[in-house]
Symmetry: C3
Amino acid sequence: MLAEAQPPAAAAATSSLQQLHFEIERLNSDYARILDDERFEEFPDLFVDDCLYRVVPRENHLLGLPIAAIHCESKGMIKDRVYAARESTMAEPRTLRHFITNLRILEAGGEEIRAEANVLLVQTMINRMTEIVLSGFYLDRIVRSDGRFLFKERLCVYDSLLLPTSLIAPV
Amino acid sequence: MLAEAQPPAAAAATSSLQQLHFEIERLNSDYARILDDERFEEFPDLFVDDCLYRVVPRENHLLGLPIAAIHCESKGMIKDRVYAARESTMAEPRTLRHFITNLRILEAGGEEIRAEANVLLVQTMINRMTEIVLSGFYLDRIVRSDGRFLFKERLCVYDSLLLPTSLIAPV
Amino acid sequence: MLAEAQPPAAAAATSSLQQLHFEIERLNSDYARILDDERFEEFPDLFVDDCLYRVVPRENHLLGLPIAAIHCESKGMIKDRVYAARESTMAEPRTLRHFITNLRILEAGGEEIRAEANVLLVQTMINRMTEIVLSGFYLDRIVRSDGRFLFKERLCVYDSLLLPTSLIAPV
């Protein structure tokens, strides 16, 4: 088997990276599931207290422009945001579903892990077929806190210039 | 590397869960591939004899309502279903493709594994662009049988209230 | 835990396959990211010199017909192709995003690995919502070269009979 051709040190590094990859995937899947189930009250607990959560169009991200669809500079601001989302989505029911794929660990040597992953978000409204809300990618700084991984920073960079109307809830 | 900060027992548990995760992902990918290739005759063999396979709208699932788009209470009923699918899809050709992502193992301690995963199903009909059929999630009870994993129960909970016309084939 | 019920030899084989799976997933994610970021100049380096890269409609693939949307028989031809893509996409800006899921290792015993995975490609054009370009699957022959995995052969088999207009760039 080709995998066995690796020298032991390289194999150990791969194994460790593999475990990290597995755990970050689990974090992403928990993230998706909490949002898809509209368990918004659990959403802030995916972040550390001193965090950054932003949802920005790709164009602005590439150009370094500050405008964001969602901008939260702390866990407290995220709590405010999901409270607003809870109120709003009751008015216009829809089901959102996240597909987070192709996770890449960019850096894992130090105190924090830098990672990215693609995201496809679709929504289903009553009496409508399922449609794409947005595609994009997450750009993350993740830290270990009390034995679990949490977001220190999550940027959701979406490909459209149009603001999807459903961007009331976190993405 | 952060992954090495785990105590040995926790690391062993992670490794074991990781392996399980890998094998359930493989089951899901086999499942997707069998349906996408329309190898319907192989589909029932993904289930144990005494099984439950249901395709239900999310609304009904949440409210506990019994109505289902597909309801099979045994491997025999699944065989009947795929026979019907084989006949029907010959009349109106389309290609279906499954994207099963964000697998989560919910419980793995006992005789069976409980897991869930998001699913996006798209279809391509002749002279039409590819379009979304449904989004939703699988809710599974999986058992090990003769060295491989099989479904004891698979619920496909889809987000729409509308019945997609292509729900003749299993999802 | 069910995963521990495996005999040691089977567990070792699973572990080795698991590692291989992890590395091929990483290759696919690198592939997706390079194309999504339009870093076309890095794209040929995902292939060995003597390679085959084809993008073909599923119908042609199943019937063994030779016509392809993209056909490159060497790394040099891939370089030509991405040069053309670079020129063309400047004229009509769009953002593409790949979702590569449900990887399956088909064969891993010998010099090369055979694998497949589903792919969903979406695009976002200025002032338009995100839409599906194509669904399909990759069929790969992968080799290890200088410690990393590279494509010896990548077929992208897409489900539509229609030629998507955006098939200027590699898929």
